[in-house]
């Protein structure tokens, strides 16, 4: 390999903190993530919270006198790195943005840490970083600080990304499973399980690659509007690993005064994902989503919530799939098409590893 060739790949020297590290930071990370906080070039990004609060207030009308922060972190190790509907970069921003917004925090800034395998193509890294930058700016967040480490060949699978995020929680917003009560509506923002089905298909090559697409999508814009008091949202959560069934079980295990009753007939699936799942014997209710939130709200506002969500492409397929019930306390039950029932337990084993 000649010198020029070598420059196209990540070497251990890119992670030693020296010249190549600085070159990589300026030629890839700062180039695409460019923002005033990052440009300060300090060891940590400094955030003027009041300024951000004022800006969000101006755009949304929310008040921030309480100055409550939401904070989250997540690591991304998906395989393959590029899939139909997204890539590890988009996923890394999406996951953190969604974790913030479902907690009621309007995302402000994220961090990103890269662990890169020696020999990884710099061009591929650039594609991933571009995708992160695009997803971030589309969702009103910026990368406030970052880190790069390089590990030897074979010690990681291409690239792993960690992102953390902070967001501001508007006054009066307090979402938690403890708020749910009998009769509340259970809404999902789109068809369940597409991301898991997509990754499975990418790995196994079962049907045409383009026919099953991930639902990977940040939902900050779509869900922030729902924080308005008039919707009376009780709790929201993004149904990632373990899928819809696992998320619902989390609700009733954290508040076991109630059960959740789903109606099989009310749940629609994306046709190709469903066909693939049926062939492979996989239940899409346990398959991961990366752009679907479960929302619990009073039955009286369910139609307003659905009307709000229908205005956006990513949530236009929102549907009410069941109700919170005084029966079957602490359990999730699904009423089947023929009127029978079955428990929908928490997922025990990973259906497929490294989906996110």
């Amino acid at each position: 390999m000649n010198l020029n060739e070598r420059e196209k790949y990540i070497t251990e020297a890119h992670g030693n903190g020296g010249k190549l590290t600085h070159d990589l930071i300026s030629s890839v990370f700062v180039k695409y993530f460019d923002n005033p906080t990052l440009s300060e070039g300090l060891d940590s990004g400094r955030l003027d919270i009041l300024k951000f609060a004022a800006k969000i207030s101006e755009n949304t009308g929310f008040k921030f006198s309480g100055q409550k922060l939401g904070m989250t972190t997540d690591s991304y190790v998906v395989k393959p790195l590029f899939f139909n509907g997204g890539d590890i970069g988009k996923l890394a921003v999406t996951g953190t943005v969604n974790d913030l917004i479902v907690t009621g925090a309007i995302p402000v800034a994220i961090t990103c840490g890269f662990i890169i395998e020696e020999g990884f193509k710099i061009e591929t890294l650039e594609t991933i970083v571009k995708s992160m930058a695009r997803t971030a700016s589309e969702n009103g967040v910026f990368v406030a600080t970052g880190d790069t480490k390089v590990v030897g060949r074979g010690l990681c699978d291409g690239v792993y990304i960690n992102t953390s995020g902070v967001g501001l929680i508007p006054d009066g917003v307090d979402l938690a499973p403890s708020k749910i009560s009998g009769g509340d509506a259970v809404i999902i923002t789109g068809t369940p399980g597409n991301h898991g089905a997509c990754i499975l298909n990418e790995r196994g090559g079962f049907i045409d690659r383009m026919s099953v697409s991930s639902d990977c999508a940040p939902l900050a814009r779509q869900l922030s509007g729902l924080l308005d008091k008039k919707f009376g949202i009780k709790v929201m959560r993004d149904a990632t690993r373990g899928g819809v069934a696992t998320t619902l079980n989390e609700f009733v295990s954290q508040n076991n005064n109630f059960g959740i009753m789903l109606e099989e007939e009310s749940i629609s699936y994306e046709t190709n994902a469903k066909s693939l799942a049926d062939i492979l014997g996989i239940d899409l209710l346990y398959s991961a989503c990366e752009g679907r939130a479960i929302i619990v709200c009073p039955s009286g506002t369910a139609n307003d919530v659905l009307a709000h969500l229908s205005r956006f492409d990513e949530t236009s397929g929102a549907m009410e799939i069941g109700r919170v019930s005084e029966k079957n306390k602490g359990k999730v039950v699904i009423k089947t098409r023929i009127g029978g029932g079955r428990f929908l337990d928490m997922q025990v084993l990973e259906q497929f590893p490294r989906i996110c």
Binding site: K331, R342, F343
Partner: protein, 383 residues
């Protein structure tokens, strides 16, 4: 032509159809003068669909759905798995297997544990994937674990034929395939089992045809219905069984006629007959059933792992009384003498994360189905 299942469902109004069948089931059930009617499904996929569709919760209490030995991994005896582990531990061997076998604990270990400890154990999706592995590793003995019923046996037979045609000297089959009809006869005549009718497996029957069941079931005086995999199929099969029971008939009726023929798949039967011959086989929980296993015959015998590596496999203690894991009641579950929640280990020490017996390990297993669908005695309140 593409088949749209949802469109089909809408057209035939499955919900209405299901209601009508359930009405008939209730009527037959009331007319049958028995305290309980025991129907056994002999296919893991049926067990799962029965739970998933909620069929169990719709039937009158009098009908007891029993799950039989319908999961090939579950009925594989410990000594077979121990033999596979013994070969896996030897550096001269590569084991190829369907994924379900990995986690099944034998007496000494599991293939998954051995894989973690450095053994070369590879999951394949088709038996013939072993051919390439054998070519790439000429200095190793590549052993395919031939486990499964009539649904996989033809593909294993095809592997033996391919090995012969390509002149492979390092590819072997560890014979563990079993056949269903003889086992049904053994279950029907087992003193601990009380069955009024069999819900017969759909996929196996595609290969065997209806004929294969006639004589075994006629001899035991129990009726059977070959059943498809939709809940409508299952309800219809239950109705048909109840009708026969009420009339005192012991026939075999083919409900799954869209896939199963009277004589079965001739090509699959031909290759099975060419490569295999029937022999006695041990089933976990049941014991040795005469003529219920498949062994390589004639010129294919040279591909038998059992014949070539008996010393490595060391299948000592291969009897029906093999001491299984203490307290594990998989044997009784397989015979449906008990239901999984009656096993003292169920959900307490035995779960899909730490499975003790094969009925919990295999995704098709009865214990796994009871665990997954949460039917550990809790009643679902629907209204």
């Amino acid at each position: 032509m593409s088949f749209n299942y949802d469109e089909f469902s809408e057209k035939c109004n499955k919900k209405e159809t299901a209601k009508k069948i359930l009405d008939k089931i209730n009527a037959y059930c009331a007319a049958i003068d028995k305290a309980s009617i025991n129907l056994m499904e002999v296919c893991g996929t049926h067990t799962h669909e029965i739970f998933k569709s909620g069929v169990r919760t719709m039937l009158p209490d009098k009908i007891k759905l029993r799950s039989g030995p319908g999961c090939p991994v579950c009925v594989t005896e410990d000594s077979y798995i121990d033999g596979a582990i013994n070969m896996a531990r030897d550096k001269n061997f590569i084991i190829t297997t369907f994924g379900d076998m990995l986690k099944v604990p034998g007496e000494i270990s599991s293939l998954k544990k051995e894989q973690g400890a450095g053994s070369d154990v590879r999951v394949v999706y088709s038996p013939t994937d072993s051919i390439e592995i054998a070519f790439e590793n000429p200095s190793k003995n590549v052993i395919f674990l031939g486990v499964g019923f009539e649904t996989t046996a033809p593909a294993v037979a095809f592997l033996a034929k391919e090995a012969k045609e390509r002149g492979l000297k390092n590819l072997f089959i560890y014979e563990g395939n079993k056949t269903v009809p003889e086992a049904l006869k053994a279950i029907a005549n087992h003193p601990a089992v009380k069955i009024d009718g069999f819900i017969l497996p759909g996929h196996v029957s595609v290969i065997t045809g209806v004929t294969a069941y006639r004589s075994p079931l006629a001899q035991s005086g129990i009726c059977g219905v070959i059943c498809g995999f939709e809940y409508i199929d299952i309800l219809l099969s239950i109705e048909t069984l109840l009708k026969m029971i009420s009339e005192g008939r012991h026939d075999v009726i083919n409900e799954y006629s869209r896939a199963v023929s009277e004589s079965g798949n001739a090509a699959a039967q031909k290759i099975m007959n060419e490569v295999f011959e029937a022999h006695d086989s041990e089933w976990r929980g049941i014991g040795v059933i005469p003529g219920s296993g498949l062994k390589l015959r004639g010129e294919y015998k040279k591909y038998s792992a059992d014949d070539n590596f008996a010393a490595v496999i060391n299948r000592a203690g291969k009897t029906a009384e093999t001491a299984h894991h203490q307290g594990c009641k998989c044997g009784e579950v397989l015979l449906s003498v008990i239901e999984p929640p009656q096993c003292p280990l169920f959900k307490k020490v035995c779960s899909p994360i730490f499975p003790i017996g094969p009925c919990m390990v295999s995704s098709e297993g009865t214990c796994a189905a009871f665990y997954k669908y949460g039917s550990s005695g809790d009643k679902i309140e629907l209204e």
